[in-house]
Symmetry: D2
């Protein structure tokens, strides 16, 4: 069956998905929706789809098999629920929300409806992640250190914690997800954070730096460091350490260091294309076994980043 | 006046100081003491000094102006106190002790005696540290990230927490001291730590990895990461971040990154020689104003690493 | 005056120029010509220009002030001559030709007509080149080492020496031009070259590796190394050395190394935009003083690469 | 049998050999000779050997099995000949001489005497060289690029071409030897060289930069670049290229780059120890099959560097 796909939200992050879905022989891009009418029209025109500004109207009028949800963090909730009630499979861009409760409700609706879901934690589809997991097989992990250290995104909503959830939730969530994927669940989280140097940016109330300590269920310690004060860019990476082994994993590279030898391997896979192809295939076949991050798996990552935020507020370690 | 210098402890760390003191025209190396008689004799022979195995005997018989204390962490206490009571200036190698109480008592004895003191936090004497401080002048610090990630030292006492204090206290203390020196005092510390992969090393009970979160009094967050599981070596560095500025400070390099340009500067100074020359000059002139880390300053760093250890034990943040 | 611009050749290299010319308020893109009719039509459509497959027809029918000549090396000659005869200013993409004689004839026609010319040696417009020249001011150059080491371009004509001139003439010419720009004229050139590993590529008869020794008029030695056997990419750079100074210049970076310090600076300028803006301004004002590589300057670089080719053939040093 | 070893020349380069020979259970260091009497006495004292200032006296009085010849380039000749006439095996430090004729005569004497010989091209004993050879097995070499780019050695004789042979002969000879070892014999050599920036150093008449083009017998081109104008150091390396393969070989590292992956391997072998152990074993057993660079093999490298020097003088390519 050819999968009939709609999009809600056709801003920046949607562009790659639009291209992938429109060029996939197993999917038809039939409708797009955006609160910005001209943006909806432009995407609809480019891909020969119908254009909407109301999501409820789109889901009512169009016979969708699957929906891409590419909206800002604060705009999640009703879209997912309505899609679930209409038995439409959903691909949700990260993060799941700017708050802790919304995704819990969505999860209930999804599970009630039994729809196929996938969340855009694209690092999971990288061949570098596969290789990292292979290197770590049968080796106890001793330490995890993650980084999302760079500049300030341009979109205004990112700078408001109520709208984006802050850097940990919106951006570094990829690294938190990788930490779980590579090293397992986290028991306790503690955050040191501040807003020391970006406070004069208009409308900004998110922390500009944080270090989130982790204690994994398996006993290993870790930390994930975030900052948005470095417009020159700095480091986006997760590193994992075992006895005499250092893995440094960026989105498209893996560096493996052991005594006497360092290897740097370059990715051959486009993880965005792969996550979209696997989602379309899953919907087409009614089999989600190849999807690497269904909604409830992403929810665990969301709980972790929300716990990190709670620790910022309380100044206390938070047990998950 | 020529400064008459004795040494207690002439193992590995003492060797550089012995060379510096013996070649300094303003100091005479007159006596050495070590519990290992052959080691004491060898050093005494090499530098034309008297040899002792009992410190109390040495301090009684020799007319010392200054004493280098280069003993393992667990062996501090009486030596410093006795030196203070005899009005002998002391140069103490880090760490001050393996426990929290001993240095507090020593400090009281020192202050009562009014002797000149210096502690071997040699990074403070690096021209790279001077340059880092200059770069940070009038810039609010946003984030501090420190690392002591390498292999396991060979000495057996290092592996026993009761004898060394563990990696944070014995080794990473240099980075904690630099964090204070560059970014100011720390209010709260929280540690995530583990012993996951080095547990099969005989006699080892120190953590093999830790991430110590810091909240500085000025509001900035930070983290200092330690591990001894990487025999290939990995990274010993403190990095400090401000708006569009990344400083990476290793013992002999400083890397300064701003938008559009990265500079890497190499040290021209031997900080060990400088700290010894300044100590001798201070004792000679009776003026300690050039000493960059007197005992009470080092004590603040010791309290910080001890607080990190306490957080490991309690699982709670510790306020300093 | 608004400069009325035509293009002959609208393949890959023309795309950036088309964008720059069409978005420059001082130029109108009025006509394009390509031997591939569909390619001509597509470009004409995209930029609202007239479309031609015959250059002589275009130059007759259109009232052009300036012409971009973006054709393969073997296709130069009549186009430039005809443009000169019609008093049309020309921007010529490198290399000037695949053979030594053609550009000599073109030069005569240009000088007779007195038209404004510019050649696409875009490195000359980089702020990194400006900075390199500034670093070298008043310092004698001791050594020049250049590199164009990478993979095999996809276009078939590149692989035929009669059509492209080979790698030295077609690709490494940028580095030869930079060598002249930074270190002055070359007196003697000697080439060691081979075709050892790419010989099984169909239709390929260009050398797959060469090292061209240079003796500059000022006395300094140098060498420029080319290879197309490394599909992973390797190094495209010119480095210049003076006493205690090493400059490494890539298209968008400059690394300056002196004792104790290394700086790496990143370009802030798009040299393609700048060369196009300066050409349009020159034609508009009738003043070519800002053009950094007029035809006769490029001709000197062409003579140098042709001398390198001649040395391959003869096995002897060639004096320029 | 325990090999009875003498040394002629106990300056800097001899120190490692002295240590290796004195600590090898299969060799006895019995006599040392140096024109500087105090240097001879010091070495003799340190290793319990007899001390000489006249080589002919030493070889007459001592019953030597083997001789280390660690003298400056200009001092070779009679020593080797006398050793050969006395049937003493010789280990000769590179280069063989500062001139082309001397080693030819020595070679004749050696071959007449049938003694065991070894020359100190220590790179040949590196495990990195073994690994490079293994990587190149069954792959045609397309290009060789070598570098000896650094500062000016301190010894006065180095700066006089008549005494050292110049940088190519004295220092870069290691890289020329590696080029032959990895890529085979060279047919033609051509040098571009200059003395542009170090001319004000007192007593210096060697070129301060050169680029020596090579054409290997197998058809591949290459170049070896030397300079002594960079006191900060720069690059000492030989790189070899084949289809989609780049090898970068420094004395203790090998970097292997292929599409998608780069490996950097660190040496585990001390090549100085290994060359000495193999030489002693060869003399002890009367079997030189493990020696990687006997005199006549080194002579081929010497002829190559001498040809490079001749090309500097004549300005013409030199055929070997």
């Amino acid at each position: 069956m050819t999968v009939r796909v709609g999009f809600v939200g056709v801003g920046g992050i949607a562009q790659g998905h639009l291209r992938n879905i429109s060029s996939n022989p197993d999917s038809d891009l039939i409708a797009v929706c955006d609160v910005a009418e001209d943006r909806a029209r432009r995407a609809a025109g480019a891909y020969g789809a119908s254009s909407y500004t109301s999501f409820s109207e789109m889901i009512e009028k169009e016979d969708l098999d699957a929906l891409y949800i590419c909206v800002p963090p604060y705009a999640h909730g009703e879209i997912e629920t309505l899609a679930a009630e209409n038995s439409v499979a959903i691909f949700v861009e990260k993060p799941l929300s700017a708050d802790p409760q919304t995704p819990e409700s969505i999860s209930k609706a999804i599970n009630k409806a039994g729809i196929i879901t996938s969340v855009g934690y694209n690092w999971r589809y990288s061949d570098m992640t596969d290789l990292a997991l292979q290197q770590l097989k049968d080796r106890p992990i001793g330490l995890v250190v993650g980084y999302w250290m760079g500049g300030l995104p341009g979109v205004p909503w990112w700078r408001k914690k109520s709208m984006s959830g802050g850097q940990i939730v919106e951006q570094t969530t990829h690294i938190f997800d990788m930490a779980r994927h590579l090293a397992g669940e986290v028991d306790v989280v503690y955050s040191a954070a501040g807003l020391q140097v970006m406070g004069d940016v208009e409308g900004l109330d998110v922390e500009d730096a944080s270090a989130v300590s982790l204690k994994f269920a398996n006993g290993a310690p870790g930390v994930i460091i975030s900052t948005c004060m470095l417009s020159q860019g700095y480091r986006v990476m997760i590193s994992v350490f075992s006895k005499d082994l250092a893995l440094e994993h960026t989105q498209d590279r893996l560096r493996i260091s052991v005594p006497g030898e360092t290897r740097e391997i370059k990715s051959k896979v486009n993880p965005y294309e792969l996550e979209d192809a696997i989602f379309v295939e899953a919907v087409s076949k009614g089999d989600d076994s190849k999807i690497r991050c269904p909604y409830d798996e992403a929810l665990k990552t969301h709980r972790l980043t929300m716990a990190a935020n709670r620790s910022i507020e309380t100044g206390q370690p938070v047990r998950l």
